[in-house]
Symmetry: C2
Subunit: 411 residues, 2 copies
């Protein structure tokens, strides 16, 4: 890596760290939708965008939008971006990296001297922390911000509508946040937030789909009883039933390529060491890029739960809380990203995203793809979240190749 290329990677990293200091809490990174530090982030990035000759506005949903029109272009623009908000006690890169790196993409586009307009977007909300509903920013940009969302209330009793007003924006103008036509595509650069690239020793990957998700809860009901006086053959032990089922859920996911199944929450009643469990509620989170594989897995697991319950003289009830289809990324744009990875000299890795991203909301409206950067240790949503300088540089080498291909591709 040469000195010049190191410099731009270092600039990205330092920008992320500067913005990390703009937080609701001293010593921790917490930046929710339309909170005070978001003003500072906007001002900070606006300055940089304007220095790059970009036209900057904040739309009524609080999205920061910088436009570089290219030279007298009337061509369609590439949108690049990610989110500005964070989870509580977050790391310094989730979301913000994809916005800061967008400015480097503008620099690259400017250096190319080709007709390649770019819009950089910092989405106001993706994590769903303040109002329990994620993607408020990208929903507005894609025209699917339901007006009912304005009535949501945060922990302090402040509605979305009031929050928008308090931030100095006009709720009535949300419809004008919707992007107009003339978009060639959307690219989101994001840390992987998982251990796959790190485990494989790779730096970047092209994302070909956001997996679909089922979330639900199984409640096994047996009979609470005395742990000493109830012999094994007369028990209806809800914990033993749940344990058997959890083992089967793990085993099915291990046998099914690409499937993940997680039981992360278990609540036992009465939850005393000397009382046989009367009931156990166990969560199921099941994800796959192919909805039919996911549905079949969930069906099989709920059926197995019933069989286990019947054999043990228990009852079981399945409650589904979420059934969200997979979102494929644009085939052509993803192929272009994979080619760019190859052209930049890296091994081509295509993968699915196990987490949701703004690209998922953008994809139904415009061709969208994502570029993942390795997450050291797979750590995210944690202060130890990191990104390597060499991986930022790798992503910029890919960006260069991607922009070249995009500029020369047929409109």
């Amino acid at each position: 890596m040469g000195a010049a290329v190191s410099e731009r990677a270092r600039r990205v990293l330092e920008e992320c760290l500067s913005i990390a200091a703009m937080s609701e809490e001293p010593g921790r990174i917490t930046r929710r939708f339309l909170t005070e530090p978001m003003h500072r982030v906007h001002a900070h990035l606006r300055k940089q965008m304007e220095d790059l000759g970009m036209q900057v506005r904040v739309d009524a949903a609080g999205n920061l939008r910088g436009w570089w029109p290219a030279e007298a272009s009337n061509g369609d623009r590439l949108i690049i971006g990610s989110h500005l908000d964070t989870v509580p006690n977050a790391g310094a890169y989730d979301g913000i990296l994809g916005v800061v790196i967008g400015l480097e993409w503008v620099r690259l586009a400017q250096a190319m001297r080709r007709d390649c307009p770019v819009e950089v977007v910092g989405f106001s909300e993706e994590e769903g922390v303040r109002y329990g509903v994620p993607f408020l920013g990208s929903r507005a940009m894609t025209g699917c911000f339901d007006s009912g969302l304005l009535g949501l209330v945060d922990a302090n009793g402040i509605t979305v509508e009031e929050a928008i007003r308090q931030f100095g924006l006009r709720p009535s103008q949300i419809v004008q946040a919707e992007m107009d036509g003339g978009v060639r595509g959307f690219v989101e650069v994001h840390i992987e937030q998982g251990p796959v690239l790190d485990a494989e020793g790779l730096q970047v990957a092209a994302v070909e789909a956001i997996v679909g998700q089922t979330r639900g809860s199984l409640e096994f009901t047996g009979q609470a009883n005395h742990a000493g006086t109830t012999p094994m053959h007369l028990r209806r032990d809800a914990m033993a039933a749940a344990a058997e089922w959890i083992t089967e859920a793990e085993s099915l996911a291990q046998r099914t390529p690409g499937l993940v199944a997680t039981v992360g929450r278990v609540s036992v009643a009465p939850n005393a060491g000397n009382v046989i469990a009367g009931s156990v509620a166990a969560s199921l989170d099941c994800r796959h890029a192919d909805d039919s594989v996911r549905r079949a897995a969930v069906d099989q697991l709920t059926k197995r739960a019933e069989e286990i319950a019947i054999r043990r003289g228990l009852s079981v009830r399945w409650t589904e809380h979420m059934n969200q289809p997979a979102v494929p990324m644009d085939l052509r744009l993803t192929a272009m990203m994979a080619d760019a990875i190859r052209d930049a000299g890296f091994q081509v890795r295509r993968m699915t995203s196990g987490a949701g991203h703004d690209a998922m909301i953008m994809a139904p409206r415009v061709p969208a793809t994502m570029l993942f950067l390795r997450s050291p240790g797979g750590i995210s949503h944690h202060p130890d979240e990191a990104v390597l300088l060499e991986d930022i540089e790798a992503s910029l080498l890919v960006a260069e190749q991607f922009l070249k291909r995009l500029a020369s591709s047929v409109r």
Copy 2:
């Protein structure tokens, strides 16, 4: 069942219900060590004892002790009894049945016109509710009431010593609560508090041992991670490990006659549906009448936990909270009870007690045994706790045979 026998069974049942009304809480049965309703219980039972010609005292530990010396006997006495205290929101029979039924044993002994002195004891404390330490009454009677117990403090900051004083007794006289010699044996009649007799359609059983208990906790520590972005092969899932182990614990107990193993408490961190469990603490309660079987089972289960943890890249830590040996009942007295059951016309069932009882404390000092009465539905420590009239009558037919055998046995 004739009209005469029905009458005494009904009397026992009604006595239990009368005493159930002597409670700390209106509408619920709660009667802890040396609380105000215990005075009423003492007064109520003292009257009945005196009507039977018994000499009555309350010792310094709050045990109610009635002595029927038989006619000019200098022979050793049989002690029969159980506890007067209850758990919060208790049933009407746990403990008190064994005291009330003791009065019927006195009637039977009196009717026999044989030299068979009887002491009926209502132990002041067995459940361990008020001070967190059980068996305070029987500890005093067996001379193993450690003076340190006087300093224990209840939820209101009242020490055992103060509670004894407030009840009108003298802590300094606790040593005089210890029973003198001249005891032929101790019999405790108690509801089974489990489902075994009910499931087998039997009314009574002779208890040959109180099982030994191991209680402890296993903590599996893996790595909390994103449920969507972490593929199955890169997980260190503490809940999956715990589930595998819980299944094995159940299976081992099912394969080992007489063993019970219970995982009744499970605590997951962070316990969120979309986060792989980073750590899980699971309780183990393991009981058997043979200490070597129990120890071997605990050793095998902790060893398996380590194997499971190592294979999965987790760590595991076992903390033992209790390792209480089994207490065998007296062989000769238990054989006498089994013979009495047969002589009374019932099928002889010997069983172990999975719960602790005052008989466990008495057994090291005097020959002790227990007679269990069926618990309908196996329900205990609950307002639905019940006992059938016909089972009370059955136990009294057994008592009659037992007293005959005792009176005629060689001193």
